[in-house]
Structure formats: structure tokens, C-alpha cells
């Protein structure tokens, strides 16, 4: 079970068009990525809600094709 980095990024760009999206490949097996998303869309949301927004962007793949995705969300500085 895996997903290419390009496909992962395309999901995130579609859902967070304004975001800065940083993806780190942790193992080279299309199954262990670390994603950092910086977006104003997270304004007013707690961490759980922010991460749930990311899971929704991944359209049900989280916990399935993507079982070991590390997620960090943050608001733009300043």
C-alpha cells in the first residue's frame, strides 16, 4: 500500500491552493512521508481540526494507502 509523492502533493495542492507544502520522503518506499503544511486556512482551528482538514484533503487514503504519514500544520508567520 503506498502513494507516490506527486499524487500526495496533488491532493494537498487541490485542497490548500495557498499553502506552502513541504514533503520529506522518510524511507523511499512511497509510504513514509513527513508533510508540513503552512496555510492561513488553519486560522482559528485547533491541531486536531487542522489535521482533520489534511485527512479530508487526502480523500480517505489516510490510514489506508498512507498509513505512516507524519503531519505538521502551522499558520503563516507574521
Amino acid at each position: 500500500m503506498a502513494m507516490s509523492q506527486e499524487k500526495l502533493k496533488s491532493f494537498l495542492i487541490k485542497a490548500f491552493p495557498d499553502a506552502l507544502i513541504e514533503i520529506q520522503d522518510l524511507a523511499g518506499d512511497n509510504d513514509h512521508f513527513a508533510v508540513t503544511l503552512t496555510s492561513a486556512a488553519f486560522e482559528g482551528k485547533n491541531r486536531i481540526q487542522q489535521h482533520q482538514m489534511v485527512f479530508e484533503a487526502l480523500e480517505g487514503h489516510m490510514g489506508k494507502a498512507l498509513h505512516a504519514l507524519r503531519v505538521k500544520t502551522q499558520l503563516p508567520r507574521g
Binding site: R47, I48, H51, Q52, F55, M62, G63, H67, R70
Partner: protein
């Protein structure tokens, strides 16, 4: 599904800290579950571990219950705190320690 949710609520009501995980406290079966176990042990926080690998209906049901697609899941006083990433981040910023202190749990 509702009886499963009742079972989950019962567990959450009767334990201050509950960790739904893969494996158990002595033998975590996944790196993410292991990370949260180590954090709780480092903070001397007693917790009730639930091994979801033993109950496939629970393993999927808890994801629906919390609207959270992965395991582990940490609950403190019936409140969902997060998975490995959020718990680790809160540990690094000290928010997790503050949460336990505020709830009167642990040291």
C-alpha cells in the same frame, strides 16, 4: 455500532488516560504507538492501554468515534487529544505536561 461506542465511552469514563494502540504497554507493535507509550512513561503518567489488534471492530470503530483515521489515539478525561504527531508536538512544546498538570494527572 452504538454498543461499540457505548463500550468506548465506558472505557473513557472509567480511566483518566486511555491509549488506543497497536500492541500493549510492554510490547508496542508499531513505532507510532511506541512513541506515545514512551512519552507517557517519561512523564510518569499511568494509562489504560487498549490493544486494537485484538478487536478489529474496535480498531475501525474508534476511528469513526474520533473521526480520526489512524492509531494510536490518546484520550485524557474522555477528551481526544490526538495521535502520535500531535502528542509528540505537545510533548516538545510542554503543552502535554501542562494538560496533565491542569487535569491533576500523574506526578
Amino acid at each position: 455500532m452504538s454498543s461499540l461506542f457505548d463500550q468506548i465511552r465506558e472505557t473513557l469514563v472509567s480511566n483518566d488516560v486511555v491509549l488506543y494502540m497497536k500492541g500493549d504497554q510492554k510490547f508496542p507493535m508499531c513505532g507510532f504507538s511506541n512513541t506515545v507509550v514512551r512519552i507517557l512513561e517519561t512523564l510518569n503518567i499511568p494509562f489504560h492501554a487498549v490493544n486494537v489488534l485484538k478487536d478489529m471492530e474496535l480498531r475501525e470503530g474508534i476511528k469513526t468515534f474520533a473521526n480520526w483515521p489512524t492509531i494510536p489515539q490518546l484520550y485524557v478525561k474522555e477528551e481526544f487529544i490526538g495521535g502520535c504527531d500531535i502528542v509528540s508536538e505537545m510533548y516538545e512544546t510542554g503543552e502535554l505536561q501542562a494538560l496533565f498538570a491542569e487535569k491533576g494527572i500523574g506526578a
